[in-house]
Symmetry: C2
Subunit: 341 residues, 2 copies
DNA sequence: AAATATTGCTAATAAATATTAGCAGCGAAA
DNA sequence: TTTCGCTGCTAATATTTATTAGCAATATTT
């Protein structure tokens, strides 16, 4: 025997299975592919399957490709989804449109780990996926890995600085604007705004939309009515108390997200205010808990599902080149809390 | 030209790319694989990449397999994750253990669609994935697709009737028991229970655990203290009011999930009860919103991440045969609400 | 000028699986 | 008994990509 180190054991191939089962390699191929055209006896089939189980054979895509076109696959790479159901809704959106095109969606959560991203992209390159969705939980600018460039790719809820990739994000500014217009249409004039985290673009843009709507209605933007929150119920509660104790009494409060609206409700109840009667409240992002508030919270939807639908459609349909930026509408849902007595 | 219909256009192969770029097929292979050992001029590389972009070549796994072992992949098939962040936590659990074994996780959400399941399993067979996790949002009995049998597979948060597959589920009965024991340990004797949906096994088992703990403490199970809920805040609120107006006044209320605990808090506040002082409350499943309750809710955790970790470990490590059923502990987290004044 | 080393490729071959063409054996019909 | 049809395979070939061995051209050294 050679003095060289033993080579790593070879992968089990159909030839090994054939040897063990006492059949030919082509018989193994017919059995594993469930080819209906080829007659294989039950006894032979069982011997092949036994050998597969015994030797631990796992099929791989090497060798001569099959004549039939394999089902298409979209790869979806997301930084993380555990902290938010929203990413899952976007994924569902990608999936339902992809399935209409007979494509399945494989999701990989990378946690932003570059090695993980590179490994997944290598895998998807080997698979020949039809396209890749690169998704972010928070709307933000991203720097996709270089390897993404060799695929047909779209950015979901994010965009790149050079605009090399097509991207789709929510129209946050316009959402903030439309929500504020609805409060104005309901008769409110002293509309307060509770911000989220300032470093989040979504928060900034919602505030900008609020300010734009006020200006267009010839209502001055009053700094006393803009209070800093933190996207949590506790922040919404604290900010609401500050507004109620401030120099200008608002008649409506626009919270930059629904969790803060939960805290806002608590603070208003503490101070004897009646939501939708003595004080109006508007939320944003339509989180599940907000649907349990009473009176029912009016809020702004984020187009998670629609962004997902749009990505799959763009990847799987003939379309123009890369570099588009699409902004999807954030519809306002009017329940009860935006009204006034 | 033949009178027969034109055949479907052949897939673009490396040979086509080579022709277009004016190089050999092996040069194309070197460029696309980023092989560092082979010297290719920048000019040649650019011509190959231009041809790839122009002809729309997408790599696939056919032909001679590469010498190096590709990174391993675990396929994870889940019915749906949009309605619950819990599945995402389980997926993260699978992923963090898999990554320690240098495997990535590809997730497919099938919505229970059998065609989708079959397509994904075919894809994963062609890929030679190292193993498959078949996951369910609700703990339940499932009938996995036949094609799952040809893979090394584990059931997450579900199990099959024939016990052909290894499975991992939460130890719900024990969780209910431990939580009740903690209430007893805090001095409570008239402990109420608000059930979830009766058709859900988790609800049944939590109730059984509650009853077992009472019996072991020689406290009679009082049907007046067991009220039907519905896993929603509204159901928790209604059930709590019924308990307060019932013939037996409880000194603790064990809610079968945290959303009902939210409603329970509301009802107690309405009736002037002080949580953690005049009335104790225990929740279950540690949902995000419950972390914003004041006083802080004591609750039972579900081992989402641990179940995920366990699945990846089982798939990627040498281990015994299929057919195990593992039940993972549901730890009780004591915050403030379980106490009494 | 001649010899040697390096660069940047390619032709040939290898590897694994899919598919086709063909055949031995068996049973049924003439 | 002979012929024909069917069954259940297999040998050979096809296909695509990965890898090796080798070479023309160029640069460097002697």
């Amino acid at each position: 025997m050679s003095n060289e180190p033993n080579p790593t054991p070879a992968r089990v191939t159909m030839k090994d299975i054939a040897l063990r089962a006492g059949v030919s390699q082509s018989t193994v191929s017919f059995v594993l592919n469930g080819n209906e055209d080829m007659r294989i006896s039950e006894e032979t089939r069982a011997r092949v399957m036994d050998a597969v189980a015994e030797l631990g054979y796992r099929p791989r895509g090497a060798g001569r490709p099959a004549r039939d076109e394999a089902s298409r696959v979209i790869g979806l790479m997301v930084d993380e989804i555990a902290t938010s159901p929203f990413a899952a809704i976007s994924i569902e959106g990608v999936q339902e449109t992809a399935w209409k095109h007979n494509a399945i969606v494989e999701v990989v959560m990378t946690g932003g780990n570059r090695d993980y991203e590179a490994t997944a992209l290598r895998k998807w390159a080997a698979d020949g996926v039809a396209g890749i969705v690169y998704a972010s939980i928070l709307t933000r600018k991203v720097a996709p890995p270089d390897a993404l460039a060799r695929h047909r790719a779209v950015l979901l809820n994010c965009y790149d600085a050079e605009r090399r990739y097509t991207s789709v994000v929510p129209a946050e500014r316009r959402g903030g604007e439309m929500a504020t217009r609805q409060l104005i249409a309901a008769g409110h004039r002293k509309i307060a705004f509770i911000t989220g985290e300032n470093w989040m673009e979504a928060s900034d843009q919602r505030l900008e939309g609020y300010e734009r709507a006020l200006r267009q209605a010839n209502i001055p933007v009053d700094p006393n009515l803009i209070v800093e929150g933190n996207f949590l119920p506790s922040g919404g509660r604290t900010a609401t108390l500050r507004l109620l104790d401030g120099p200008v009494r608002p008649d409506a409060i626009f919270c930059a997200n629904d969790l803060m609206a939960v805290g806002c409700y608590e603070a208003l109840k503490e101070r004897g205010e009646r939501v939708g009667a003595t004080m109006a409240v508007m939320g944003y992002d339509d989180q599940e808990i907000a649907q349990h508030l009473s009176p029912a919270l009016s809020t702004v939807l984020l187009p998670h599902r629609e962004m997902g639908n749009w990505c799959a459609e763009w990847l799987l349909s003939p379309s123009e080149g890369a570099g588009l930026q699409e902004r999807l509408e954030c519809p306002v849902v009017l329940r009860e809390s935006h009204m006034r007595g």
